[in-house]
Amino acid sequence: MNVPLLEAQGLKKSFGGVAALKGVDFRLMAGSVHALCGGNGAGKSTFLSIIMGIISRDAGLLKCKGELVDFQNPAQALQAGISIIEQELSPVPAMSVAENMFLGREPVNRWGVVSFKEMNAAAQKILDDLGFPLSAKQVMMNLTVAQLQLVEIAKALSYDSDIIIMDEPTSALGEKEVEQLFAAIAVLKSRGKGVIYVSHRLGEIMDISDHYTIFRDGQYIETGDIEDVDRNKLIELIVGRPLEEEFVKQNKPKDKIVLELEKLTNGELIQDVSLKAHEGEILVLYGLMGAGRTEIFENIFGLSGKGCTLKINGEQVHIKSAQDAIDNGLAFVTKDRKGSGLVMSEDVRANICLADLKNLGNAVKMNGKKETSAAKRMIDLFSIKTASDKLKVSGLSGGNQQKVVLGKWFLTNPDILLLDEPTRGVDVGAKREIYRVMSEFAENGGTVIMSSSEIDEVLGMADQILVVRDGLISGEISRADATPQQLMHLSV
């Protein structure tokens, strides 16, 4: 009766002489949600890859429902009743929701022809059971990122596996969708399934998990019941040292208006958005995924195509391109690090220098010394962990990659920092570092406009909060008056 669904003992794995897992244990019981916690580089991904048979282990045992297993590929793991909701989405854009869900196992009739009717009905039933407001016939490329994530979740659950691994399932979801997911998880628990839940969002872990296991730097730290720990204890275990204040905030907004946007409208995405950002202020745009926050940033930064008129330090400027924005003292850390933040094929130095090339040499010859020293300055400022500035950014951890993006923008000496979900997919330690940088920047007279969908972060960092819903500003709240309920209420 009490045989664990999944049990790992002493798993080890090294890559090219570097140990990624140094002997970790894990036990997942039926009918429970087990949170797997750790910073970036703790070995969570390696551990999950071993379970799924994507990579082989060097040492250790893996038992599934009491039997020793050794999966050679993901298909075998799936066969044994383990499915995964991956962090990186992999949709086939031109196919329908149902086709994506049943990819590779389409129901066929006796002539070998796919039975679309049956497939659509089956997919729709799964979606309805989960309470996801999606039609099985919709084409994937018309969906928002949050909806794609829901499809991915529905797909993983449709295998009817006993063990479901969720790797950052909520990173692209808004509060409403998160609630739907949690309701689905509750149903899974009641059916006796086991869920391995990986997330950097500690609030969620506290909400839905029964047990936790902590990895740090490839090492097994401890396992316990969630009800025996609190959030701070969990952070301490993850970062491995006594907790400092989670949010670092010393800035005080001044009266001077630095950036003023009046009635910005762009198609149906943004309507009548006005905002005022002051010197030394951290202004937060709170809202759900797809509410229009990214579009507001892109407009301000001259990336929307038609340009944007706004007032900077009281003077009216028209920004037509990113270069205009940079010239006006703006910097924009995009949400999608890999997609629009970094050039993954290039090294740390090239990425840090990218937005400031005009000041690091003339048109005929770049100044190599200047580039090197600029990169070094930023590596030191953000304590970026890299062996050398000539290392490709693709080899860095997520948190360090994000610091490279920040370094790129700080090199341009901006006055106004636009941060679109700056801590998405970043571990607790690196998050704190980013908060510290934001706070210092504002304290020294800079202006920060940040978007966030994490309520804790919003309450911890914001001086002023604008709630964005469906491309509109649906409310404005100051730091002193803000409550989680109010934010939630205004955002949906």
């Binding site: 990113a322 090239a350 090339l357 770049m366």
Partner: protein, 334 residues
């Protein structure tokens, strides 16, 4: 008994890793050296000055085209039109430098420099049009330059009335047949073009832009780089260098031929790919391209010397292209 400490073990490993990395990084260069050493022993004629110059001369036009192609491929593009531009610009320049009154346009013959400037302008305009279609109208590079491949060939035939443009002035012919200090002019031109391109890609701001725009156009755009402009310029460069190649070819053969340069784009792409530049953009070195072009040249020459039929040469070249990319792919795995 020797006890290996973990630190030493690490060092041994890293030496081995380093050797593998060296082979991967300089694999093409090593292949070229190996090829030359083998041929030097296999055929006494191979290493003679005459033959070496011959190889270099035969490589020069493809080398020049491949350098332009490298710029384009680094930005995730491709330029299929260079072969047609070779013919078009060859004919245009020839028509200004011919002494044959029937093939002449607007009087002439003009001084070589006028003919050359005209040729380069036409090449850059053709390339620029492709670049505009790609950057402004977001037509895939393959399609845009496929269109130019056909259009430029047609324009060549229209312009020349379907006939070759013969009897070029000795002054113009010098860029194909002359030499400086015993080095053939085509080779001198290749070296100059290479040196400039090497500088631009490694040291100029534009070079940084090219790598960034190819590596991640979105990130480049957000960082203030005008990606469309970069795209436009690289196609103009490719067209301009195709013109240089076209005029060298016309000067060498003594006439502008409407059927010149057919399938030259494929050899240029082959040199770039063999040289390790990734078709997905942002990764590659101009020295690799030069080595790739030389490797193709040496191989063709060596197989000729050994009496291998040209039919087989094509098969071997095909295998080389695929093998080079396979080597590259193995580099991407850790």
């Amino acid at each position: 008994m020797k006890i290996v400490t973990p630190a030493e073990g690490q060092e041994n490993l890293s030496v081995k890793v380093r050797m593998i990395q060296f082979t991967q990084q300089y694999g093409i260069f090593l292949a070229l050296v190996a090829c030359c050493v083998f041929l030097a022993f296999a055929n006494e004629y191979f290493l003679t000055t005459r033959n070496v110059l011959n190889i270099l001369r035969q490589t020069s036009i493809n080398g020049i085209l491949a350098i332009g192609m490298t710029f384009v491929i680094l930005t995730r593009g491709i330029d299929l039109s260079v072969g047609s531009i070779v013919a078009f610009t060859g004919v245009v320049a020839a028509s200004l430098a011919t002494t044959s009154s029937s093939a002449m346009v607007a009087g002439g013959p003009y001084p070589a420099i006028i003919a050359i400037m005209a040729g380069i302008s036409v090449g850059m305009i053709c390339g620029g049009i492709s670049g505009l279609v790609v950057s402004r109208f977001h037509v895939p590079a393959f399609v845009a330059t496929l269109g130019m491949l056909s259009a430029a060939r047609g324009l060549t035939l229209i312009y020349a009335g379907g006939k070759p443009v013969p009897a070029l002035t000795p002054e113009f012919r010098w860029i194909g047949t002359g030499n400086i200090l015993g080095i053939p002019m085509p080779v001198v031109i290749l070296v100059i073009v290479f040196a400039i391109a090497w500088w631009v890609l490694n040291f100029s701001r534009f070079g940084r832009y090219v790598y960034a725009a190819g590596g991640n156009p979105h990130a480049a755009k957000v960082s203030g780089i005008n990606v469309g402009k970069i795209q436009f310029i690289v196609y103009a460069i490719s067209g301009g260098l195709a013109a240089v190649g076209g005029m060298v070819l016309a000067a060498r053969t003594g006439s502008g031929l409407t059927q010149a340069g057919i399938a030259y784009e494929l050899d240029a792409i082959a040199a770039v790919v063999i040289g390790g530049t990734s078709l997905s953009g942002g990764v590659g070195r101009i020295t690799g391209t030069l080595i790739g072009a030389l490797l193709i040249g040496v191989m063709n020459n060596g197989l000729d010397l050994m009496g291998v039929e040209s039919y087989y040469q094509q098969v071997i070249k095909g295998m080389l292209i695929v093998a080079a990319v396979m080597l590259d792919q193995s580099k991407n795995k850790h």
